[in-house]
């Protein structure tokens, strides 16, 4: 049997079996889910060769599945993170109700994402896309918390995305008479000179999943309210599906239109490029500003995900070799570190009962491995050398400064990433540092099946920091597939087009040497006289904090910053959408009055619609 079908079949069977076993035992069900995803991954990475395609008919339509180097990048994220997350969820979902449904949807999400990567035609792409949306919807409302607000918001925005995507697909079919993605690209469907609507509609569809402003409002609560083991996938991999689509479309727009900008004076791709880049940067800034005001670690991470996706959008929108490489690198690395961080949040939630940073503190002594993962992932998230996060950030900045003339964009991105230090610190401090809370006195380290995926991810972050080349390799191949020529890379040297470079090996060497020397010196010096004391033994003007008194500073953490940045906090996209929502409601109230019950009126509507379609025929359909 063909490996494509086999992989999907294994995953679907895994979904079905784990659903059936969910009633019996959550551990068995989780193990089945893990095994199916893991075996599918093994199958994928061993059996499938790049650039293999199969075609089969579905009725009259010719469908095509296949895997190219570009999809391979995302398959790395989806399957790698998927396996680890399913391993993680065995313990995480233990002792929870309705685990069957959870694992069913969980595996289904993975299946649909693998399907999206396989799809080389719009029909299967759209079908898998919708499966992904629906199964993730069921996971978002899994905790049955604020279903109305979160679920409805997610559904509305997903629907906006889906309909715009569907419209674009219909228009492609109408204009070029094909459903195959490669044919559409060959025909120039994403080309601005031919039709501006198709790429923009597709972009809207993808931007919803990539949580780009102004379509991001569903994300914070959806990320923070789903079970953490799913959020690992949700934020780490599923958002990357939006990135995949955006990269696919954007790169084509810019490469195809590079030479004939003058044809469209009104709406040149440069404007789209700049608009998208600025939207990405503003997303990053605003999400960062909100992230650092959160008291709940999960929400903080959710906002931070949006901010990171903002950087990726910037990279994709700039569209040069280095920036797209940076964006794809960031996409993978973001999958790794955000996956690790959500796993950390989940571990804390499972062990300590809550991730509210005002209620939990000082877990470092209880959960050292979890803290280690959090530390590594946070360093990567903050973009501090020498981990993978820095590599992506560096390339993004260099591409912005050297290759595009958007210097003010750099400042915006830089502002966002500097402010990110604040919430990075807040996350580590809030959960792990400070004095121990009495309520969390008996907290234990998370079980080993949760620790292992976390540690694997942290090791990956270190490796990608020292040898980013192992990720550059698939990325470069993927980029060549979607239309870049000659993508060069080095194993551990980062370079820009001005010829300046950073050698990560030297960075690592220096840091490791200094670290070892300083650590030995500081540890051995006065070893006998050094004593480790509890966090209650602090100098608070001679006052002694009692057992139940927790002096950790947690409330209004960044108040001075908030005061300084007060004008930026005044507006919220959420409010704007709410206003639009109430506006729409009154509009619908008005439209209700159209239904008069008179047949004549309806006839007029039908005629009016036909007339409208005829008028717009030329714009929507080319031939």
């Amino acid at each position: 049997m063909n490996s494509f079908f086999l992989i999907l079949l294994i995953l679907l069977a895994g979904a079905a079996i784990s659903f059936a076993l969910g009633k019996i035992s959550s551990i068995i069900s989780g193990t089945v889910a893990f095994l199916s995803i893991a075996s599918a991954s093994v199958l994928f990475f061993t059996q499938l060769k790049n650039n293999t395609y199969i075609e089969f008919p579905l009725g009259e339509i010719q469908l095509q599945w296949g895997i190219d180097s570009f999809g391979y990048i995302f398959a790395l994220i989806v399957l790698g993170l998927g396996s680890l997350a399913s391993l993680y969820s065995i313990s995480y979902m233990q002792n929870k109700e309705r685990t069957g449904i959870f694992y069913f949807n969980f595996v289904l999400v993975i299946t649909s994402m693998v399907g999206i990567i396989f799809s080389q035609d719009f029909i299967s792409f759209f079908i898998f896309w919708e499966i992904m949306t629906w199964s993730s919807y069921l996971l978002i409302i899994f905790n049955k918390k604020d279903v109305k607000e979160i679920g409805v918001k997610y559904m509305i925005f997903s629907a906006i995305g889906a309909y715009s995507m569907l419209t674009a697909i219909v228009m492609i079919k109408g204009n070029y008479n094909t459903f195959l993605i490669s044919d559409a690209i060959q025909a120039g469907a994403f080309n601005f000179t031919n039709n501006e609507y198709i790429p923009i509609l597709l972009l809207i569809g993808f931007a919803v999943k990539a949580a780009t402003m102004p379509l991001h409002v569903w994300a914070p609560k959806a990320y923070s309210n789903s079970p953490m083991s799913f959020t690992v996938i949700f934020s780490g991999a599923m958002s990357k599906m939006g990135v995949l689509g955006m990269a696919l479309v954007l790169v084509r727009i810019f490469t195809f239109n590079a030479n004939n900008e003058a044809i469209l004076p009104n709406f040149s791709p440069i404007i789209l490029q700049q608009t998208l880049a600025w939207l990405g940067a503003i997303t990053a800034v605003i999400a960062t500003l909100y992230a650092l005001m959160q008291d709940d670690a999960k929400k903080l991470l959710a906002y931070s995900s949006i901010a990171q996706l903002g950087y990726i959008t910037v990279g994709l929108a700039i569209g040069t070799k280095l920036s797209v490489m940076a964006a794809l690198f960031l996409a993978i690395v973001h999958g790794i570190f955000k996956g690790a961080l959500f796993m950390v949040a989940g571990a804390v939630e499972r062990q300590a009962g809550t991730t509210d940073m005002t209620k939990v503190s000082g877990l470092i002594r209880k959960m050292p491995f979890t803290f280690f993962t959090a530390l590594i992932a946070i360093i990567a998230l903050a973009g501090i050398p020498p981990l993978g996060g820095f590599v992506g950030k560096w390339m993004l900045y260099e591409s912005l400064i050297t290759e595009s003339n958007s210097y003010f964009l750099v400042i915006l991105v830089f502002f966002s990433s500097t402010s990110a230090f604040l919430y990075c610190y807040r996350f580590l401090f809030g959960l792990f540092l400070g004095q121990e809370e009495e309520a969390t006195k008996d907290v234990k380290e998370a079980p080993i099946t949760m620790i292992i995926p976390m540690l694997i991810l942290s090791v990956l972050l270190m490796v990608t920091g020292a040898y980013p080349g192992i990720l550059f390799d698939p990325i470069a191949k993927g980029m060549e597939t979607i239309g870049f020529n000659n993508v060069t890379w080095d194993m551990s040297v980062l370079g820009n087009i001005w010829g300046n470079s950073v050698n990560m090996i030297y960075v690592w060497l220096t840091i490791v040497i200094v670290f070892i020397a300083a650590f030995i010196f500081l540890t051995l010096k006065g070893l006998k006289g050094t004593r480790y004391v509890s966090t209650k033994d602090i100098s608070t003007s001679g006052e002694i904090p009692l057992e139940h008194e927790n002096l950790t500073f947690q409330i209004n953490f960044f108040q001075p910053f908030r005061r300084a940045a007060a004008p930026m906090y005044k507006r919220s996209m959420d409010k704007i959408w709410n206003e639009i929502g109430s506006g729409l409601e009154s509009l619908f109230n008005f439209t209700r009055k159209i239904y008069t019950g008179n047949g004549q009126t309806y006839a007029i509507f039908v005629i009016a619609f036909l007339v409208l379609m005829l008028l717009l025929k030329d714009t929507l359909f080319l031939n």
Partner: protein, 183 residues
């Protein structure tokens, strides 16, 4: 290898360390008594204690010298003990003003202690009510002499005779809620 100065023999490493300790005194001023008002002139332009290497420290972790300025109420004694124990060795105590010596004008008060050295070891007493900044500086110079001669080992004495000190302390602080130390 030893070095001899003022008829005192010290190993050279010790000598250098003591020299550094002597010339770099970080002072934690416990300023609850009226003597606290004498500290600003001591530290600022007029008397300039910094030329002796004396400077203020904000927390007991960084401090070398605990300067107790004036009377100690029983309530503040608890804090002083706590602060003293939080300081890192080698540490010194300078008690300042008559009240720390014999209670001064508060000798018959129901809530001020009379003899500080019963509770924590005192290296240098500066008498007077209040001692002027010159006296304070002379106290510091006396302490520097002690440090240089290697005789300022009162902190060790405190650890050795901890039981005796604890007994005295607990007589005042009946509800003993101090953490136990593992030195």
């Amino acid at each position: 290898m030893t070095i001899t100065e003022n008829n005192i023999k010290q190993p050279i490493g010790e000598y250098i360390q003591n020299w550094a300790r002597k010339h770099s005194l970080f002072v934690l001023a416990y300023g609850t008594g009226c003597g606290a008002i004498e500290i600003p002139p001591t530290m600022t332009s007029r008397y300039d204690a910094e030329r002796f290497g004396i400077r203020g420290a904000a927390t007991p972790r960084q401090a070398d010298v605990l300067l107790i300025t004036g009377y100690l109420a029983t309530k503040s004694l608890k804090r002083v003990i706590r602060v003293y124990e939080q300081m890192q060795d080698p540490k010194y105590v300078i008690a300042f003003g008559s009240c720390t010596i014999n209670g001064g004008m508060y000798y018959d008060s129901y809530n001020t202690i009379n003899a500080l050295d019963r509770y924590i070891p005192v290296d240098v007493y500066i008498n007077g009510c209040m001692p002027r900044p010159e006296a304070v500086i002379s106290g510091f110079v006396e302490l520097q002499k002690q440090i240089a001669s290697g005789n300022a080992y009162n902190a060790t004495k405190y650890k050795e005779n901890l039981e005796w000190y604890r007994e005295n302390q607990k007589k005042i602080i009946k509800n003993w809620r101090m953490p136990d130390y593992n030195w």
